[in-house]
Symmetry: C2
Subunit: 266 residues, 2 copies
């Protein structure tokens, strides 16, 4: 499982202030803590500052990478912020995200094509949100084809099936899960990624639902997740599922995480 | 999901004494509590008393059914105990279990055939424990064929793929999961069932591993599980997974369980 640490996001408590006040120490610690907990990428998102998003995102890129040797996930729908952030980034980042929406696709594609970066391709329809498995696979197919035409290899593409709340329609969970399976089958080499928290919107015990959804998504073939790696119950589920799916030889990673206090049962 | 409540088992703390001392109140309460928590069947097992197993099992059947209108799961490899227990049982119980081991098959088959009961068919080889998916499917196939030849309809059969510890071989989880999927595909109408706790034997944080395995097994098609329905974290996972797989219209069962305090997140 590829883990993208989601905590450096200005919509999260304390993070907006930390960015505005240039609180280097807090940002760096949040990045290091997530890396220590198992993150492979550190997401950076300054989306709550529409006017200064590019400036803030650049500061985040430079601040995090000054102390941590991990690739970042530049998380914005804003082409300028993505382009400027990429210029400050050491090595190739993950770009989150591109979609079929025409203006966005046109503006983000050259950024993605300019470097051997990875890219999240969002299964958002041109006019509406996807509902069924078929909707998602169709949009995913078009996105993957267009990206590959532009020279982006399959291995660089992470398709996000767009998770929608089961409280709105209880079939939304299985629609996203089915899409993960179909996309992994239809496009060899392409990866899948998603955030977890949308699925539980409007329901009680959200973290339980998110954890359970992670286990299911992994069994349907999910390659990567955007999550809080410092949530020890969530990481416990992730490591247990990886082990139960036979991907943790001698249960080494699970036992090591347990010994280091990185997971928790109850 | 069909839930078989596992708590009335003389190998569990306090239960041996309760049976020996004919502690009706404790046995009845343990049965009622499990029913309240969502059990569809109450397992009864007196296996720690090899000499008096039949007598004790009969007492358990009569005691539980005197206060609770649920079918029981008669849990014993001992044909005499199964046969005597069945005579005391109101309606048709679940018989747990039959296997291909020759003496056991011969002795248990007539008991199962004598009533419209359900039966757990254990994927135990004649000479050895199964290791691969194929081992399990092969044994399952032979068992299902033999049971159906004897007039037991598919709907009455629960195949147990036999869960083995991932600490012994990390492929054991995926072997059992794969067997669940293949058996559900190969034998239409037949159900699958398993216990959870073997999978985590020898590892820390066993309840976390068991819960994660339940989520995976459900996503691979498991029909029934033998578990502790009073474990609110386990039941939380079960209800969340059922909901995420689209089987809980309007999330009603999940929300109701939450409101009644039957599940817990953290």
């Amino acid at each position: 499982m590829i883990i993208v640490g989601e905590k450096i996001n200005t919509s999260r408590p304390g993070m907006g202030e930390a960015v505005e006040q240039r609180n280097r120490a807090l940002i760096v610690r949040t990045a290091l803590d997530q890396a220590q907990a198992g993150a492979d990428y550190i997401d950076v998102n300054a989306g709550t500052f529409p006017k200064d998003e590019a400036v803030h995102l650049c500061w985040l890129v430079e601040t995090v990478q000054s102390e941590l040797d991990l690739p970042l996930c530049l998380d914005s729908p804003n082409p300028e912020a993505l382009s400027e952030g990429m210029k400050r980034h050491n090595g190739a980042p993950m770009i989150n995200s591109i979609s079929l929406e025409e203006d966005r696709f046109k503006a983000v594609l050259p950024i993605v094509a300019s470097q051997p970066c990875e890219v999240v391709a969002l299964c958002m329809g041109r006019a509406s949100m996807p509902t069924t498995v078929e909707d998602r696979v169709e949009v995913g197919k078009e996105l993957v084809a267009k990206l590959m035409e532009a020279g982006i290899s399959a291995e660089r593409i992470y398709v996000d099936p767009l998770i929608q709340p089961v409280s709105v329609d209880v079939q939304m969970g299985i629609a996203a899960l089915g899409a993960i399976r179909e996309i992994m089958k239809a496009f060899p080499g392409v990866k899948t990624i998603c955030g977890l928290s949308n699925v539980s919107y409007g329901l009680p015990e959200r973290r339980l639902i998110n954890r359970s959804f992670l286990a299911l998504a992994m069994s349907y073939g999910l390659s990567a997740a955007i999550l809080d790696p410092m949530d020890r119950r969530l990481m416990g589920t992730l490591l247990a599922v990886d082990m139960l799916l036979g991907r943790d030889e001698y249960c080494e990673k699970f036992i090591e995480a347990y010994q280091e206090g990185r997971i928790v049962e109850a």
